[in-house]
């Protein structure tokens, strides 16, 4: 696996076809670093909220099951507005940028150190060939609320190329998050294995 460096990142941004890397909008060329790409905070948020239910169930057969989206509240901010993340709060969001990864490249996305030092942590992996705004799970591990500005460079992505070619959007099985442009609640409950596991549990 090869970590893509600046020259290769810029080359891929300039070509079309299978090797093409697409980032839109790329507001500042300086976002392309030596081995990383800075990405900005997007406009849409799903903020976790407390409900009267004791836990989030992921098993649909559970009588206590409620749609996972019901544990989150939607909100939007305009470009340049602030979003405050409170201690121990989870908020789902996306990058401002819509990214099309080449089929031979995957991405690791982390918070930039300026924000890691404020207690905002993120570490996620994006599949080769991904299409959409990168999904981001923001969590504030500090004691203080932290103000985040929509459009600020909060994240960085490291891109790795390998000797493979995924068919991310040409796959014959449906993709859960194809072309997403805003955060979506977890679809953990849609995992088909959970039905099998429920039957295993019943037969014990």
């Amino acid at each position: 696996m090869a970590l893509l460096h600046k020259d290769e990142l810029q080359r891929r941004l300039g070509v079309t076809g299978e090797e093409s890397l697409f980032i839109d909008p790329l507001l500042d060329q300086s976002q392309i670093g030596e081995v990383t790409v800075d990405l900005r905070l997007g406009c849409d948020f799903l903020v976790s909220i407390l409900t009267r239910r004791p836990y989030i169930s992921t098993v649909k057969a559970d009588p206590a099951f409620r749609g996972i989206a019901s544990y989150f509240q939607t909100t939007r901010r305009e470009f340049g507005d602030s979003f405050v993340l409170y201690p121990n709060q989870l908020a789902l969001t996306t990058t401002l940028e819509f990214v099309a990864l080449p089929s031979d490249v995957y991405a690791d996305v982390l918070t930039r150190s300026s924000y890691t030092r404020l207690g905002i942590h993120l570490n996620t992996m994006i599949q080769p060939g991904y299409r959409g705004c990168f999904p981001i799970e923001l969590f504030n591990e500090s004691n203080n609320p932290v103000e985040l500005v929509v459009g600020a460079r909060i994240f960085q992505a490291r891109l790795f190329a390998g000797p493979f070619k995924s068919s991310y959007h040409g796959a014959t099985t449906p993709r859960k998050y194809l072309g997403n442009v805003r955060p979506t609640a977890s679809r953990a409950a849609d995992d088909p294995d959970l039905d099998r596991l429920a039957r295993i549990k019943e037969k014990r």
């Binding site: 909008p25 939007r76 470009f79 602030s82 819509f98 449906p174 194809l178 072309g179 442009v181 805003r182």
Partner: protein, 343 residues
């Protein structure tokens, strides 16, 4: 209720609005000015005509309804951006758009104008030249992230341009209609042509799908007539009401109805599930027609290479609407980014 008591309630409601951190700077200023006028009226009530106080209370109530009923936390910024780019050509005044997400299927584009009233009926209050229109955009909640389904808003904007300038009314003076329904039909035709001038044929496509055989009614022309007039307009044929409307616009010193869009070649981008980088305002409006054609082709012929990953019509619709929305969003972000380059 007595106007004075209404004004107290409205004042408190507007103060609560101001505390909302989601309010934009422009709406914040609008609210602050309105609060100043309310205070002025409350302090000077005895020297003002009762009719004026009552009428002002009605304006304040309307503005309050717009401001408090607007869902700034869920605004369809993309649609607002598209419509905001149209208004300056047709209105000499600033226009602040708020959005109400409705539970029905109704779209509306309704202005409220307290400042024309204040300047004329409350001349003792100095507005310092502040006089933007406040427009509430009504969007069905289920369509708030579906720009292709919000196409009717261009038609509603056409009604706004018509009423705020008196286009259809002037047409009545120049060429009297034969009946009241014909007058109402003219308003619909104008709004259809206005929408078509910005977004092309997709403006009328919904009618062809939903109500292909609708006959003429008291308020709306027959679908076939509406479609024909739009087709004639887009083909530069000066038929029917088109010359009359153009004459009225000329007399009102407004621009003529003409194509204000360029097709946005979205196919290559959308086939690869990428956003389309909109380059101009004409492409901004043109993306609706282009995306709509792509959408219909995808549903009818299942042609995009990614269709296997999106097996249902709902998935196809979601992807195309999202790509359209994000393409528009990115255009607005680029514009704002560039506007922030200098203080």
């Amino acid at each position: 209720m007595r106007p004075r008591l209404d004004l107290f309630l409205i004042r408190d409601s507007l103060r609560d609005c101001q505390e909302t951190t989601y309010f934009s700077g422009k709406l914040h200023k609008f609210t602050a000015q309105l609060l100043d006028v309310i205070e002025y009226v409350l302090q000077n009530e005895k020297s003002l005509s009762e009719d004026i106080v009552r009428a002002f209370a009605s304006h304040a109530l309307g503005a309050n309804r717009y401001l408090t009923g607007s869902t700034t936390k869920e605004s369809p910024y993309e649609i607002e951006y598209c419509l905001q780019s149209v208004v300056p050509k047709w209105s000499k005044r600033d226009c602040y758009i708020t959005t109400a997400l409705t539970d029905g299927r109704d779209f509306h584009f309704e202005p409220t104008d307290p400042w024309a009233f204040v300047k004329t009926a409350l001349p003792g209050f100095d507005t310092n030249g502040f006089d933007p229109l406040l427009v509430q955009l009504g969007v069905p909640r289920v369509y708030s992230h579906k720009p292709l389904y919000c196409i009717p808003l261009y038609h509603e904007l056409g009604h706004f341009v018509d009423v705020s300038n008196g286009v259809t009314n002037l047409s009545v003076l120049i060429q009297a209609p034969n009946s009241t329904p014909e007058y109402r039909h003219r308003m619909e035709h104008f709004a259809d042509l206005f929408a078509a001038s910005y977004i092309g044929r997709c403006s009328i496509r919904a009618l062809e799908i939903i109500a292909p055989g609708n006959q003429s009614s008291a308020t709306h022309p027959a679908t076939a007539d509406r479609v024909k007039l739009v087709d004639d307009f887009l083909a530069d044929r000066q038929t029917g009401l088109i010359p009359l409307f153009q004459t009225c616009l000329q007399h009102l010193k407004l621009p003529p109805l003409q194509r204000e869009f360029d097709p946005a070649p979205v196919k290559t981008a959308f086939d690869d599930i990428r956003t389309y980088p909109i380059a101009t305002t004409r492409e901004l409006h043109g993306i609706f027609g282009s995306a709509w054609n792509y959408f219909e082709d995808s549903l009818d012929n299942r042609s995009p290479p990614w269709v296997a990953s999106a097996p249902t019509d709902a998935d196809i619709e979601r992807i195309i609407n999202d790509l359209t929305e994000k393409s528009i969003r990115n255009a607005s972000i680029r514009e704002r980014w560039n506007s922030g380059a200098t203080p």
